[in-house]
Protein backbone atom coordinates (compact mmCIF):
# COMPACT_ATOMS: atom_id res chain seq x y z
CA UNK A 1 0.00 0.00 0.00
CA UNK A 2 1.44 3.34 -1.09
CA UNK A 3 1.34 6.52 0.91
CA UNK A 4 -1.43 8.01 -1.19
CA UNK A 5 -3.78 5.15 -0.43
CA UNK A 6 -2.77 5.17 3.20
CA UNK A 7 -3.38 8.89 3.41
CA UNK A 8 -6.84 8.73 1.92
CA UNK A 9 -7.81 5.81 4.08
CA UNK A 10 -6.71 7.78 7.11
CA UNK A 11 -8.69 10.72 5.85
CA UNK A 12 -11.76 8.52 5.83
CA UNK A 13 -11.06 7.76 9.48
CA UNK A 14 -9.61 4.30 9.01
CA UNK A 15 -8.04 3.67 12.40
CA UNK A 16 -5.36 1.35 11.09
CA UNK A 17 -4.20 3.86 8.49
CA UNK A 18 -4.21 6.65 11.08
CA UNK A 19 -2.04 4.54 13.35
CA UNK A 20 0.35 3.86 10.50
CA UNK A 21 0.74 7.56 9.76
CA UNK A 22 1.31 8.32 13.44
CA UNK A 23 3.93 5.54 13.49
CA UNK A 24 5.56 7.18 10.49
CA UNK A 25 5.95 10.49 12.26
CA UNK A 26 6.81 9.08 15.67
CA UNK A 27 10.56 9.91 15.41
CA UNK A 28 9.72 13.50 14.44
CA UNK A 29 7.32 13.84 17.35
CA UNK A 30 9.81 12.34 19.78
CA UNK A 31 12.47 14.73 18.56
CA UNK A 32 10.25 17.74 19.19
CA UNK A 33 8.80 16.42 22.44
CA UNK A 34 12.09 16.90 24.24
CA UNK A 35 11.99 20.06 26.34
CA UNK A 36 15.18 21.00 28.21
CA UNK A 37 16.53 17.51 27.62
CA UNK A 38 13.46 15.85 29.12
CA UNK A 39 10.78 13.94 27.27
CA UNK A 40 7.43 15.67 27.73
CA UNK A 41 4.62 13.12 27.54
CA UNK A 42 1.88 15.76 27.43
CA UNK A 43 3.52 17.53 24.53
CA UNK A 44 3.85 14.21 22.70
CA UNK A 45 0.13 13.60 23.12
CA UNK A 46 -0.56 17.07 21.76
CA UNK A 47 1.50 16.16 18.71
CA UNK A 48 -0.45 12.95 18.13
CA UNK A 49 -3.67 14.92 18.29
CA UNK A 50 -2.21 17.53 15.97
CA UNK A 51 -1.25 14.92 13.38
CA UNK A 52 -4.81 13.60 13.36
CA UNK A 53 -6.01 17.15 12.78
CA UNK A 54 -3.41 17.54 10.01
CA UNK A 55 -4.66 14.43 8.23
CA UNK A 56 -8.14 15.89 8.18
CA UNK A 57 -7.18 19.41 7.28
CA UNK A 58 -4.32 18.93 4.83
CA UNK A 59 -5.36 20.90 1.72
CA UNK A 60 -5.14 18.26 -1.00
CA UNK A 61 -7.60 17.09 -3.60
CA UNK A 62 -7.19 13.92 -5.58
CA UNK A 63 -6.93 14.67 -9.27
Amino acid sequence: MGFEELFFRARKEDKEAMMKIIEMYRPLMIKYAFVDGKFDEDLYQEFVYRILVCIKKFPYNKK
Binding site: G2, L28, M29, L43
Partner: protein, 146 residues
Protein backbone atom coordinates in the same frame (compact mmCIF):
# COMPACT_ATOMS: atom_id res chain seq x y z
CA UNK B 1 6.48 5.16 -5.35
CA UNK B 2 5.58 7.43 -8.25
CA UNK B 3 6.29 11.16 -8.49
CA UNK B 4 2.83 12.27 -7.46
CA UNK B 5 2.87 10.12 -4.39
CA UNK B 6 6.32 11.37 -3.44
CA UNK B 7 5.09 14.94 -3.79
CA UNK B 8 2.14 14.22 -1.56
CA UNK B 9 4.39 12.61 1.04
CA UNK B 10 6.82 15.53 0.99
CA UNK B 11 4.09 18.13 1.19
CA UNK B 12 2.30 16.33 3.97
CA UNK B 13 5.54 15.86 5.90
CA UNK B 14 6.31 19.57 5.64
CA UNK B 15 2.77 20.36 6.73
CA UNK B 16 3.02 18.06 9.74
CA UNK B 17 6.43 19.41 10.70
CA UNK B 18 5.30 23.03 10.59
CA UNK B 19 2.21 22.13 12.56
CA UNK B 20 4.24 20.29 15.20
CA UNK B 21 6.64 23.21 15.56
CA UNK B 22 3.74 25.57 16.04
CA UNK B 23 2.11 23.23 18.57
CA UNK B 24 5.32 23.09 20.53
CA UNK B 25 5.76 26.85 20.74
CA UNK B 26 2.11 27.26 21.70
CA UNK B 27 2.41 24.54 24.33
CA UNK B 28 5.58 26.02 25.83
CA UNK B 29 4.05 29.47 25.96
CA UNK B 30 1.02 28.13 27.76
CA UNK B 31 3.16 26.16 30.18
CA UNK B 32 5.33 29.18 30.96
CA UNK B 33 2.24 31.21 31.71
CA UNK B 34 0.93 28.54 34.06
CA UNK B 35 4.29 28.17 35.76
CA UNK B 36 4.59 31.91 36.29
CA UNK B 37 1.25 32.06 38.05
CA UNK B 38 2.22 29.04 40.14
CA UNK B 39 5.45 30.70 41.22
CA UNK B 40 3.59 33.73 42.44
CA UNK B 41 1.43 31.56 44.68
CA UNK B 42 4.50 29.84 46.13
CA UNK B 43 6.16 33.17 46.71
CA UNK B 44 3.08 34.35 48.52
CA UNK B 45 3.46 31.47 50.94
CA UNK B 46 7.10 32.31 51.46
CA UNK B 47 6.28 35.89 52.14
CA UNK B 48 3.68 34.89 54.67
CA UNK B 49 6.03 32.59 56.50
CA UNK B 50 9.37 34.37 56.55
CA UNK B 51 9.59 37.40 54.32
CA UNK B 52 6.65 39.08 56.00
CA UNK B 53 8.14 38.87 59.49
CA UNK B 54 11.48 39.94 58.14
CA UNK B 55 10.19 43.00 56.40
CA UNK B 56 7.90 43.85 59.28
CA UNK B 57 10.85 43.91 61.66
CA UNK B 58 12.90 46.02 59.34
CA UNK B 59 10.12 48.48 58.78
CA UNK B 60 9.48 48.59 62.49
CA UNK B 61 13.09 49.40 63.23
CA UNK B 62 13.11 52.05 60.58
CA UNK B 63 9.95 53.69 61.76
CA UNK B 64 11.21 53.66 65.34
CA UNK B 65 14.23 55.55 64.18
CA UNK B 66 12.09 58.05 62.46
CA UNK B 67 9.64 58.23 65.33
CA UNK B 68 6.78 57.26 63.07
CA UNK B 69 3.66 55.43 64.14
CA UNK B 70 3.14 51.71 63.69
CA UNK B 71 0.21 52.49 61.46
CA UNK B 72 2.57 53.41 58.71
CA UNK B 73 4.03 49.92 58.57
CA UNK B 74 0.65 48.74 57.47
CA UNK B 75 0.63 51.50 54.91
CA UNK B 76 3.86 50.24 53.41
CA UNK B 77 2.61 46.67 53.33
CA UNK B 78 -0.53 47.81 51.59
CA UNK B 79 1.53 49.62 49.01
CA UNK B 80 3.52 46.51 48.16
CA UNK B 81 0.83 44.10 47.13
CA UNK B 82 2.96 42.20 44.63
CA UNK B 83 4.82 39.32 46.25
CA UNK B 84 7.62 39.51 43.70
CA UNK B 85 8.33 43.08 44.71
CA UNK B 86 8.25 42.01 48.35
CA UNK B 87 10.95 39.53 47.65
CA UNK B 88 12.95 42.02 45.64
CA UNK B 89 12.76 44.65 48.34
CA UNK B 90 13.77 42.22 51.06
CA UNK B 91 16.85 41.34 48.97
CA UNK B 92 18.19 44.89 49.22
CA UNK B 93 20.68 46.00 51.84
CA UNK B 94 19.81 48.19 54.78
CA UNK B 95 20.79 51.54 53.28
CA UNK B 96 18.99 50.82 50.07
CA UNK B 97 15.81 49.84 51.88
CA UNK B 98 15.96 52.89 54.09
CA UNK B 99 16.37 55.29 51.21
CA UNK B 100 13.77 53.52 49.11
CA UNK B 101 11.22 53.74 51.91
CA UNK B 102 11.94 57.37 52.64
CA UNK B 103 11.83 58.29 49.01
CA UNK B 104 8.77 56.31 47.96
CA UNK B 105 6.62 56.04 51.06
CA UNK B 106 7.42 59.30 52.81
CA UNK B 107 7.94 61.18 49.55
CA UNK B 108 11.11 62.89 50.76
CA UNK B 109 13.45 64.60 48.35
CA UNK B 110 17.04 63.41 48.02
CA UNK B 111 18.17 66.53 49.84
CA UNK B 112 15.95 65.81 52.83
CA UNK B 113 17.05 62.18 52.94
CA UNK B 114 20.70 63.16 52.84
CA UNK B 115 20.28 65.52 55.78
CA UNK B 116 18.20 62.97 57.73
CA UNK B 117 20.69 60.15 57.34
CA UNK B 118 23.86 62.26 57.24
CA UNK B 119 24.89 60.91 53.87
CA UNK B 120 25.99 62.96 50.88
CA UNK B 121 23.18 63.69 48.47
CA UNK B 122 25.02 62.15 45.56
CA UNK B 123 25.41 58.91 47.47
CA UNK B 124 21.73 58.87 48.32
CA UNK B 125 20.85 59.26 44.66
CA UNK B 126 23.23 56.55 43.58
CA UNK B 127 21.99 54.15 46.24
CA UNK B 128 18.39 54.84 45.27
CA UNK B 129 18.92 54.22 41.57
CA UNK B 130 21.02 51.14 42.25
CA UNK B 131 18.23 49.77 44.40
CA UNK B 132 15.71 50.39 41.64
CA UNK B 133 18.04 48.72 39.16
CA UNK B 134 18.43 45.73 41.45
CA UNK B 135 14.69 45.36 41.90
CA UNK B 136 14.23 45.56 38.17
CA UNK B 137 16.77 42.78 37.64
CA UNK B 138 15.09 40.60 40.25
CA UNK B 139 11.72 41.19 38.64
CA UNK B 140 13.13 40.02 35.32
CA UNK B 141 13.87 43.15 33.34
CA UNK B 142 11.62 44.76 30.77
CA UNK B 143 9.07 41.99 30.57
CA UNK B 144 7.64 42.68 33.97
CA UNK B 145 8.63 46.32 34.14
CA UNK B 146 7.76 48.53 37.03
Amino acid sequence: MNVEEKDLLNQFSAYVKASIKYTKSEYLEKRTKIRNSEVILFENEDVNEEGMDDILQQVEKLSENLGQEVLQIQLLLDQISNSKIYRAVSGLNKDQKEILLLRILYLKSFEEISSMLNIKQKKVENTYYNAIKKIRIILGGRNNGI
